[in-house]
């Protein structure tokens, strides 16, 4: 950015500023703030993930872009920020998950996987000659029968969440989630909650009612009962969107 004031503490990564900040790591979170929105909601029944993929051009086939990426059959990750950075982290997480299976004959739990991703992220804030990852990952799934949702960012820090959003309009979405979250919702209701939050945040920001396009959305569920993460088809996303339009906040429908 032109005219920006550089104090000298944002040139080399590993240098702290006098007030204890790592500017490069903070800058790395900027593409996350501007990135495509991803929302995760954890309820007693499982975890729901909703991710948006907007395209720069109508000629881009967004169906070829994966925003909810499987790490193993019971865990998946979604991201906001630089997609290629996310892919590298997910590739590593996949290898970790399978190595865990070979070593222990057990599924890796969601927190272990998130911590492993966080370790890589942290290393890139400390070593020389590298830049930090411009991405935040939302990791959701089932750990030995317990639903789990974690978020890790460019700094490598991670924490567990009941519900959270990253990317564009994250503040507004988080406000909505705080107000309407309940752990007794079904995963489908949790996904609807995430979709409503996105819809409201976008409509408010653009000051006009927004319509969500099922082609540009990905929805995934991890159910405690099956211990599997499942990604919905475009048709199923469509049906889910239809239920939003009906609008009633306490819905009973279940598959």
């Amino acid at each position: 950015m032109s005219g920006m004031y550089f104090s000298g503490y944002d040139r080399a990564l590993t240098v702290f500023s006098p007030d204890g900040r790592l500017y490069q790591v903070e800058y790395a979170m900027e593409p996350v703030r501007k990135g495509w929105t991803t929302v995760g909601v954890r309820v007693n029944e499982g975890v729901a993930m909703v991710a948006e993929k907007k395209s720069a051009s109508p000629l881009v086939d967004v169906s070829a872009t994966e925003k909810i990426m499987f790490i193993d059959r019971h865990v998946a990750a979604s991201y906001a920020g630089i997609s290629s950075d996310a892919r590298i982290l997910v590739d590593q997480a996949r290898v970790f998950a399978q190595a865990h299976r070979i070593t222990y004959d057990e599924e890796a739990d969601v927190e272990s996987i998130t911590r492993k991703i966080g370790d890589t992220l942290q290393a890139y804030t400390q070593h020389g000659g590298v830049r930090p990852f411009g991405v935040a990952l939302l990791v959701g799934g089932v750990s030995h029968g317990t639903p789990a949702l974690f978020l890790t960012d460019s700094s490598g820090a991670y924490s567990g969440y009941k519900a959270t959003a990253i990317g564009m309009f994250d503040q507004a979405i988080n406000d909505y989630l705080r107000e309407h979250y309940s752990p007794t919702q079904t995963v489908e209701e949790a996904a609807l909650l995430a979709l409503r939050a996105m819809l409201k945040a976008q409509s408010e920001a653009q000051q006009t009612p927004v319509v969500l396009d099922p082609e540009k959305l990905e929805v995934g569920f991890a159910r405690q009962s099956t211990r599997l993460f499942v990604r919905l088809s475009e048709a199923d996303v469509s049906t889910l969107l239809d239920k939003i339009q009906e609008g009633s906040p306490n819905m009973e429908e279940k598959k």
Binding site: I71, R73, D91, R94, Q98, R101, I102
Partner: protein, 187 residues
């Protein structure tokens, strides 16, 4: 030790095994598992050093999951066999061979049956047997198998082949295990 049999037909593939695990002249287990599902449509029957065989089965399961995640679709039965064979071959070339043989059976576009061994060589088969009881099992297979048989008949042949081997091979016995893979899945 061991007898394992695999037979392929139009409607599917069948794997059969005994349940004896031996330590020399001692029966170490009467409930050994020798048929491993790799996924709903792929399975392997093992013979030889149990630890080596189980390790390679676990390894190929992990490799397959990674391949599926990375490229978006499952490896074929042949690719699965090739992954096992690659590990076996590199073991052989590094003076640390995996002392095991594998019958890999499954359905992708059609029923498939392959056999691979310590050397990493792969051979496609219509019927095959491995283990110490295999000469006896082959006697039954060669005399009763016909290429006009359906999956039910072929399953019966596989059972008889392993039963015959359990009668006369001291390395095989203690019960029969059968896995049938058809387009509807495996049971």
């Amino acid at each position: 030790m061991t007898t394992v049999v695999g037979i392929k037909t139009q409607g599917g593939v069948v794997l059969a095994s005994d349940k004896r695990a031996s330590k020399g002249f001692f029966i170490a287990s009467k409930e050994a598992q020798k048929i491993f599902k790799i996924d709903e449509f792929t399975a392997s029957a093992i013979a030889g050093q149990v630890s080596d065989a189980e390790y390679l089965v676990h390894l190929v399961q992990a490799q397959r999951r990674l391949i599926e995640l990375e490229r978006g679709y499952k490896p074929s039965v042949f690719e699965t066999t090739r992954l096992i064979a690659n590990s076996a071959y590199s073991g052989l070339r590094n003076y640390a061979p995996f002392l095991a043989e594998f019958i890999v059976a499954g359905i992708d576009t059609e029923p498939r049956l392959y056999s691979t061994d310590v050397s990493g060589a792969i051979s496609p088969e219509t019927f095959v047997s491995n283990g110490s009881g295999s000469p006896i099992a082959y006697g039954v297979l060669e005399s009763t198998y016909k290429d006009t048989m359906d999956i039910k008949q072929v399953e019966a042949v596989a059972r008889e082949a392993v039963k015959a081997a359990m009668q006369r091979d001291p390395g095989s016995g203690d019960g029969l295990e059968v896995l049938v893979i058809t387009a509807g899945g495996s049971r």
